[in-house]
Symmetry: C2
Subunit: 355 residues, 2 copies
C-alpha cells in the first residue's frame, strides 16, 4: 500500500509538501499541488489513519458501549448515533455488553486503548472501577439512556415519569387495580427509576405496589418469561403486567401464551420502549415510546462538544405513551370524537415537547 513517501517521490516533492496538500495548508504552489494530486490519484494513495492518529493524538472516532444489541431500542439508538457522528466527520465503534459488566469493561478498555476521542455509554451496572477511573482520568464521556449517579458526566436520556403516569391513568380508567411490574436490574438507573415512577403513579390512585408484584428482570426476554410465570402462579395474579423494556415484554408474552391465557382478555400487558413490531403483535402492545433518534443525536452532539472544548450539556427528553390494545379496549368506539380523557391525570397519546 502506497505511503506518503511514494507520493512524494512520484510528485518530485518532499513528504511535507504532500502532507500540506492533503491537509490543504495555504502555502503550496498551484503547480506542486497539481503534481501531488496527480500522484495521489495514480497511486491510489490513501493516508494511513493509524499513523495520522499517532501523530495528531486524535482518531476522529467515538466509542459506543450499549447494553444489548439484540434490543431494537439500542439498535435504533446505535443507528442514530452513527448517522449523526458520520455527519459530523466521526466514525463510531460499537461495543455490545450483552448486559454483562465484564464484557462492558472489556469494550471500554479496548476502546480506550485505541484512543477513541470520546465514549458514549449506557452502563450495564452501577459503575465499574474502570469506568469511574476513565471518567476521572478525563476521557470525554457522555451517558445515554442509563447513567451512573455521582459521576460528573453529562447524561442524555428520556424522562418516562409523565408517560408512566399516563399509563397508570389509562389502566385505572380501564378498571385495572392489581398492577405488576417487571423491573430491570436495580443497579441500572432505568431499572430502578421505572419502578419508582410506577410506584408513585400508583400511589396517586391509592394503589400499593406489593413486593410480589415486582418481578426482578435483567432486561432480557428470558427474565421476563420467568417473572411472568411467577406472577401467574400467585394466588391473586395481577390484572396487568408492565414490563420495563421490550425484550422482557416479549418474554412475558411467551409465558402468557404458554399458560394458555390471552391478552388482554385474561391479563393485560404494557411495555417500556416502543418498537415497530408492537403494532403487529397479538394484540398490539401498549407501550411508552422514547424519542430514540433524538436521544442518539443529542448524545453525539454533547460528546463532540466536550471533545472539541465546548461545554457539553445534559439533555432530558420526554417519553410518551402509545395506547394500543394489550391492556383492554380503550373506549367504546365512538364513531366521531377523539377519545376524551376522564378526570384522571392527563392520559394522552400525543407527543409532548418542552415538558
Amino acid at each position: 500500500m502506497a505511503s506518503i513517501k511514494d507520493v512524494a517521490a512520484a510528485a518530485g516533492v518532499s513528504v511535507a509538501t504532500v502532507s500540506r496538500v492533503l491537509n490543504d495548508h495555504p502555502s503550496v504552489s498551484p503547480d506542486a499541488r497539481a503534481r501531488v494530486l496527480g500522484a495521489v490519484e495514480s497511486l491510489g494513495y490513501r493516508p494511513n489513519a493509524v499513523a495520522r492518529s499517532l501523530r495528531t493524538h486524535q482518531t476522529r472516532t467515538l466509542g459506543l458501549v450499549i447494553s444489548d444489541v439484540l434490543n431494537p431500542y439500542f439498535t435504533e439508538l446505535a443507528r442514530s448515533v452513527e448517522e449523526e457522528a458520520r455527519a459530523l466527520g466521526y466514525s463510531v465503534i460499537i461495543g455490545n455488553a450483552d448486559e454483562q459488566p465484564e464484557i462492558q469493561d472489556h469494550h471500554v478498555r479496548t476502546l480506550i486503548d485505541r484512543r477513541i476521542d470520546g465514549l458514549l455509554v449506557s452502563p450495564t451496572d452501577g459503575g465499574s472501577p474502570l469506568m469511574l477511573e476513565a471518567a476521572r482520568a478525563g476521557t470525554p464521556m457522555v451517558f445515554v439512556d442509563r447513567w451512573i449517579p455521582g459521576v460528573d458526566v453529562p447524561v442524555v436520556r428520556s424522562d418516562g415519569r409523565a408517560a408512566v403516569r399516563d399509563l397508570v391513568a389509562h389502566l385505572h380508567a380501564l378498571g385495572h387495580r392489581r398492577l405488576a411490574i417487571i423491573a430491570g436490574p436495580a443497579a441500572t438507573t432505568t431499572g430502578s427509576e421505572r419502578v419508582e415512577a410506577f410506584r408513585e403513579a400508583l400511589a396517586a390512585y391509592g394503589i400499593a405496589l406489593p413486593d410480589a408484584y415486582i418481578g426482578q428482570g435483567d432486561f432480557q426476554a428470558e427474565s421476563g418469561r420467568r417473572a411472568t410465570e411467577r406472577f401467574l402462579a400467585l394466588p391473586e395474579p395481577p390484572e396487568v403486567v408492565f414490563a420495563a423494556d421490550n425484550l422482557m415484554a416479549l418474554g412475558a408474552l411467551d409465558a402468557i401464551r404458554a399458560a394458555g391465557l390471552r391478552v388482554p382478555h385474561d391479563i393485560g400487558l404494557a411495555a417500556f420502549d416502543d418498537i415497530p413490531w408492537f403494532v403487529h403483535t397479538d394484540p398490539p402492545v401498549t407501550a411508552i415510546a422514547q424519542p430514540t433518534k433524538e436521544l442518539g443525536r443529542a448524545a453525539v452532539r454533547a460528546l463532540i462538544d466536550r471533545i472539541e472544548g465546548r461545554p457539553p450539556q445534559s439533555v432530558t427528553l420526554p417519553a410518551r405513551l402509545v395506547v394500543r390494545r394489550s391492556c383492554g379496549e380503550p373506549e367504546p368506539p365512538s364513531p366521531t370524537a377523539t377519545p376524551t380523557p376522564t378526570a384522571t391525570p392527563t392520559a394522552t397519546t400525543s407527543t409532548r415537547r418542552n415538558p
Copy 2:
C-alpha cells in the same frame, strides 16, 4: 496518559525491556520483569494500540459492513460475529450501509484507511469499483449472507433452496395456487436467488410466477408495504405473499391491516428470515430460518484463517422452514400423530444438518 517511556523510567530499564516484558519475550530477568510489572501497575499503564499497530502492521480488528442494522437478522449476525471475534482476540468495527451503496463504500473506505486486518461484507449492491479494487488489492475479505459473483472471495451463507421448496409444498398442500413474492433488489444475490428458488419450486407444481406477482422491494419495510398494496389492487390478488426478508414482511403486514384484511383468512403471508417477534405477531408468521449464529461464527473463522495465512473456506449452511399459522391452519389438529406430509416434496419443519 503514561507511555512506555514513563514505565521504562519508573522501572529503571530501557523501553526495549519494557516491551519485552509486555510481549513476554523469554530473555528478561525475573528481577527486571518484576520491576516493569510494578511500574505498569502503579502508573496504570496501557499500551497505545495505535502506536503498536503502526509498527506491527496489524490492528487485530475486523471490519463488518452490513446492509441494515435495523434488521434483526443482521443484528443477530453482528452479535455472533463480534462474539466469535472476541473469543479469537479480535475486535470488530461495524458499519451500517442502510442498503445504500454510497454509505457502504464510505464504510469500506474508512475501514481500510484504519488498516483493519480483514473485512466481512454483506454487499448492498452488485459490487462497487471500490470493493472490487479492495478484493483485488488483497485486503483479506469474506462475504457473508450476500456476495458478489465473479470475485474471488470466500462466501459464508445459507442455502434457502430446499426450505423454499418446503414452503411451496406447504402452501400447495393448504390449497394455495396464486403465490406472489416480494423480492429484494436484483443487484443482491439474496434478492435474485430467492425469487429464482421460489420460481423453480413453483414450477415443480406447474405453477407460474407472473410478473404481476413479483413485487420489487429493497429489503426495507416501506417497500414491502408498497408492493403489497399493489398486489391487493390486482384484479386477482395473490392468495399468499412471500416476503424475501422480515422487514418487508412487516411492511406487508402493515398494508394488509390497512386494507382491513386479515391474515391468513383473507391472504397468507410467509417470510424469509425468522425472528423472535414472528412468534407473537398476529398471526404467528411462517418463516424460513437461517442458522444465523453459525453463519457469523463461520464467517469470522474463515476470515481469520485468511488473515493468518491458512486457506479460508466458503461455507454453505441449510436454512429451514418454520411453519406457523400465517398461511392457514396446517392440518386438522390430529391429537397424536406428527403431521404427515403428503406425496409432495418433503415438507418438514425439522432442522437439517448436512443436506
